[in-house]
């Protein structure tokens, strides 16, 4: 029996009491399990078969109970569902820390070339030289852009890259027989930082933050002892600020025999203008799905290559690319010159599909275009910050921000409207809300990252909407916020109920 037997009966969307706004075009759509098709399939297959004699006792007891839809039904089902999503292709998607930028269609086209999409990871290397060269070129772009001597491509996302970096650091210490147990990270760090440190077997100690939103050097120095394996700092940080004292952070860290891990999720703000290698960084992951625009796809897949300093290069994971003259090979086993490697992070060689997209994106921009990316991203963020500063409260008002503008909820004081309410009201204006309640160091945080691919017109539309709402909130028009959203496919969803009585799969009910 399954979770579904607890709690509320499934209420098919059809029995919706009121028609949605926009019902003329936006269709209600039940779950596939409510569309019938239990005895159907939408794929025409030959009826070839063979005796199952040698699988006796190993085959399914009862038939697999899953519905199959004809292609017309399936296409309609998923097209209808798709229209219930917001997307970067529909409007600005200002989720701070997420770098939701335009995804070029050329990149999609290139990734689908049979020479990339239809090759097997374990084909003889002589038959995939083009693929290996693509990886080599991507690696070279990443090393030049970061000014670092080595890169590991295989991590499958940013968090996986963090793990890769910390495991390399662990390997480096272990190689010296110096088993350290602590990782320092600021309170403002993204949740994956402490989570990764813990996963890598480290205890996490938080570093305090200065009034101007940077790492508190004194506190860092105080906490840096010989048990500290690594200092994890995001730069530009999650408040959208550049760590002015980054060189000093690196010096202190190295002095203590620790390594400097930089969370590179915000690399978009400085690409082409600042090389982490010049900042004393020992390891940094790069989210190809952020800075280099591989699509987020509703939650992945991404890719999180990690660049390393000389000090850590030897500990990079398997597999590794190796060139001898015209021939490229993969070192897939941790022996010989790779003996120090931290080992393998996943099967095969990583996110090839993302590598193609990212390289197409890099080639399209070129060195000049990537530098412009950083400049426009920072320009757009500061423009928003200035346009909103009068009505909202900027968390760290002094000096420019980098790629994102951070506000707190002080300005909502007494308005009876929370950051959440405000975000939901923004939905009714046709916009996706900013990141809410992150970073944790700021009360009721609103973190806005426009990226460089927003036009000035779109920035103004967005700012006008935010200001319109801000004034409504201050004018006490609370209803507009508490009940929001009103014009979305659904009204505000009950997340508490979902967690209290989890229903994680569909199961037949009297209704269904």
């Amino acid at each position: 029996m399954s979770l579904a037997s607890i709690g509320r009966p499934t209420r098919p969307a059809e029995s919706a009491p009121t028609p949605h706004p926009g019902a003329a075009l936006l269709q209600d759509e039940p779950l596939i399990f409510e569309l019938g098709g239990w005895s159907k399939t939408g794929v025409d297959l030959s009826d070839e078969t063979a005796p199952l004699d040698d699988l006796k006792g190993l085959t399914r007891a009862e038939p697999l109970r899953l519905p199959g839809l004809s292609e017309p039904e399936a296409v309609r089902h998923y097209v209808r569902l798709s229209q219930k999503n917001h997307a970067i292709d529909l409007a600005i998607y200002p989720l701070g820390s997420c770098t939701m930028k335009h995804n070029p269609r050329l990149d999609e086209k290139m990734a689908r070339l049979p020479g990339f999409a239809d090759i097997h990871p374990l084909q003889p290397l002589s038959t995939v030289q083009g693929a290996l060269e693509l990886m080599e070129q991507l690696a070279s772009w990443l090393m030049i852009l970061t000014g670092m001597p080595a890169v590991a491509l295989s991590p499958k996302a940013g968090a996986h890259g963090e793990l890769c970096g910390l495991l390399a650091i662990r390997a480096a210490h272990e190689a010296r027989g110096d088993a350290r147990k602590t990782v320092l990270a600021p309170t403002s760090a993204h949740g994956t930082n402490p989570a990764t440190a813990a996963l890598a077997g480290y205890g996490v100690v938080e570093i305090a933050q200065t009034a101007d939103g940077r790492v508190d050097l004194a506190d860092l120095a105080a906490k840096l002892d010989d048990d500290v394996a690594a200092v994890m700092v995001t730069n530009p940080n999650t408040c959208g600020l550049f760590e002015r004292e980054v060189l000093e952070i690196a010096r202190l860290t190295h002095e203590a025999g620790a390594y400097f891990y930089c969370d590179g999720a915000n690399f978009n703000a400085i690409v082409g203008r600042v090389r982490p290698g010049d900042l004393g960084v020992d390891a940094m992951h790069i989210n190809l799905h952020k800075t280099f625009s591989t699509p987020h796809g509703g939650g992945g897949p991404g890719a999180g290559p990690v660049v390393f300093s000389e000090a850590l290069a030897a500990y990079a994971p398997m597999p590794r690319l190796h060139r001898t003259g015209a021939r490229l090979t993969l070192i897939e086993h941790a022996d010989g010159e790779a003996a120090a490697s931290l080992g393998r992070l996943c099967a095969f060689h990583g996110q090839m599909g993302m590598y193609v997209r990212a390289l197409a994106y890099m080639m399209s921009h070129g060195g000049d275009g990537l530098r412009q990316v950083a400049e426009d991203a920072v320009l757009n963020a500061n423009y928003i910050k200035v346009r909103l500063a009068g009505d909202l409260s900027v968390a760290f008002p002094d000096g420019p921000c980098m790629h994102e503008a951070l506000f707190d909820d002080a300005w909502l004081e007494g308005a009876g409207v929370t950051t959440l309410d405000f975000a939901k009201a923004l939905i009714d204006e046709g916009f996706h809300p900013m990141t809410m309640y992150f970073p944790l160091v700021v009360h009721g945080a609103m973190l806005i990252e426009p990226t460089e691919t927003e036009s000035r017109r779109e920035l103004d539309r967005f700012c006008d909407a935010v200001l319109r709402l801000a004034r409504a909130a201050k004018a006490g028009d609370v209803a507009r916020f508490k009940g929001a959203p009103f014009t979305a496919p659904l009204r505000r969803l009950d997340e508490t109920l979902a967690a209290r009585k989890p229903r994680l799969t569909w199961t037949p009910t009297e209704a269904g």
Binding site: L3, W38, P114, D118, R273, G298, G300, L345, R456
Partner: protein, 448 residues
């Protein structure tokens, strides 16, 4: 530059609004020493024509599976994906949306995740599934960590039939957390050895079926032994199409089932992106890693879906989280769901039977090649054969003949002393002509 909407006029007007003299003024916080003055040693921006030429040239230097007789498997399987799948996942609303943090305007993604979880639960025969992991190997590693958390024990036993990459990925992750992974010697079938290895310190046993040699195993006996010892059973499957025909992990007593889902909807992609399937028993749900999509209602009482039980996750729980995973494999999960919704149970079973029939055809053909010995006793669509020469050499030689003959086991594990084993696989895309090409090529190459 075609992807940058701002004009120089926009830029100067915006700088004026900001009150900055120039763009440099916005980068003041960067230490002088670290400002990149000279342009980097990179090519300048390029138009579509140019980029397409360069990348097409690289693509042309690879031998695409569809362009050759093809028999590679060993963790990645080539199947036909209906054209509508790739069309649908490219819809802007799916392709260019983020993790569904604002459920009111992300029901499209959320409902498909709920459908995905339900399909994965049905396929694995377990009640709960998450919204995807990076791939099968990382799902397996996370499962080992989860088992250690649940049992508070620190040793994992891995069957010698587990894909070596999976073993290594699990080892890498477990090691740093002080969890020991014991891998039994590579073996075509080591059911007894696994049972024998279980003891009171065992957190979990990891068994793969069909295993890396293609062997299909009934895990029930192992499960009984493990449960008696208070250990959890993790069943790994790298070929999701097998779920259409074989006993499900749940039926065989698995506590956690992990699988590589790329066979359904995703495609080869040289190894990634793929999609990890993760399902478990209901009582383990609060220890599950990754995103979970759950059903709820909106303010008007209408059904809707949200990400839930996030108190397990890094963004809430930070260093106490069940995993560090954030971005997962959403779009691949969508592709999986759409393909699975087209197939349905009926279609997947049909597909699985065709795969098995094709593989038997392949086995029979290979059995007739002098010097080739069939090694795998019970298989689904992949099997190991023993050659009179090192398999790697033979595979290289056949590649020169334009035949992708399969995966030499030594490629995965050079130290197992199984250099003469070749892993070959057949799916619904494998034709009789291709099989004839392989046997012909093999005969020639082995004759020399």
């Amino acid at each position: 530059m075609r992807y940058l909407p701002l004009t120089d006029e926009d830029r100067s007007q915006m700088l004026a609004t900001i009150g900055a003299a120039d763009i440099e003024a916005l980068f003041v916080d960067v230490p002088q020493a670290a400002r990149q003055g000279a342009p980097l040693d990179l090519p300048p921006h390029a138009g579509e024509i140019e980029v397409e030429r360069r990348l097409s040239r690289l693509a042309a230097r690879n031998l695409a599976a569809g362009a050759a007789p093809f028999f590679c498997g060993a963790g990645a399987y080539r199947h036909h994906v209906p054209a509508s799948v790739d069309h649908l996942i490219q819809r802007s609303e799916f392709l260019t949306s983020y993790t569904p943090y604002q459920p009111e305007i992300a029901q499209g993604t959320l409902q498909t995740l709920f459908e995905f979880q339900t399909q994965v639960a049905a396929l694995t025969g377990l009640p709960v599934a998450n919204a995807s992991m990076y791939d099968g190997s990382t799902a397996c590693a996370e499962a080992v960590m989860m088992a250690a958390r649940v049992t508070r024990r620190k040793r994992a036993i891995l069957s010698g039939g587990v894909h070596p990459h999976y073993d290594e990925a699990a080892h890498t992750l477990a090691h740093s957390a002080g969890i020991e992974t014991v891998r039994l010697p590579a073996a075509i079938d080591d059911e007894a050895a696994v049972v024998a290895a279980i003891d009171g310190d065992t957190a979990c046993v990891v068994v793969q079926t069909p295993n890396v040699f293609g062997t299909v195993t009934d895990v029930s006996a192992i499960a009984e032994a493990a449960h008696r010892a208070g250990a959890l059973v993790i069943v790994v499957t790298t070929e999701a199409v097998a779920f259409g025909l074989l006993k499900s992990p749940g039926e065989m007593g698995a506590d956690i089932a992990v699988a590589e889902g790329s066979s359904i909807g995703v495609g080869l992609n040289f190894g990634g992106p793929y999609v990890g399937l993760f399902a478990c028993r209901e009582n383990l749900v609060r220890q599950i890693p990754g995103r979970l999509c759950g059903e709820t209602v909106d303010a008007a009482g209408q059904r809707g879906f949200v990400l839930t039980l996030s108190t397990r996750e890094q963004h809430i729980r930070r260093d106490k989280a069940t995993s560090n995973i954030c971005t997962n494999s959403g779009l691949c999960a969508l592709a999986f769901t759409i393909h699975m919704s087209l197939l349905g149970g009926v279609g997947l079973e049909r597909l699985a039977r065709i795969n098995h029939a094709r593989a038997r055809r392949l086995r029979d053909a290979l059995a007739s090649v002098p010097g080739v010995e069939i090694v795998t006793p019970r298989f689904f669509n992949e099997l190991a054969v023993r050659l009179p020469k090192p398999a790697a050499e033979v595979v290289e030689a056949l590649a020169e003949d334009g035949i992708l003959a399969g995966v030499p086991f030594s490629r995965l594990d050079p130290d197992a002393g199984l250099d003469d084993l070749l892993l070959v696989c057949a799916t619904e895309t494998t034709t009789d002509n291709e099989i004839a090409a392989l046997t012909g090529g093999l005969s020639r190459r082995l004759a020399r």
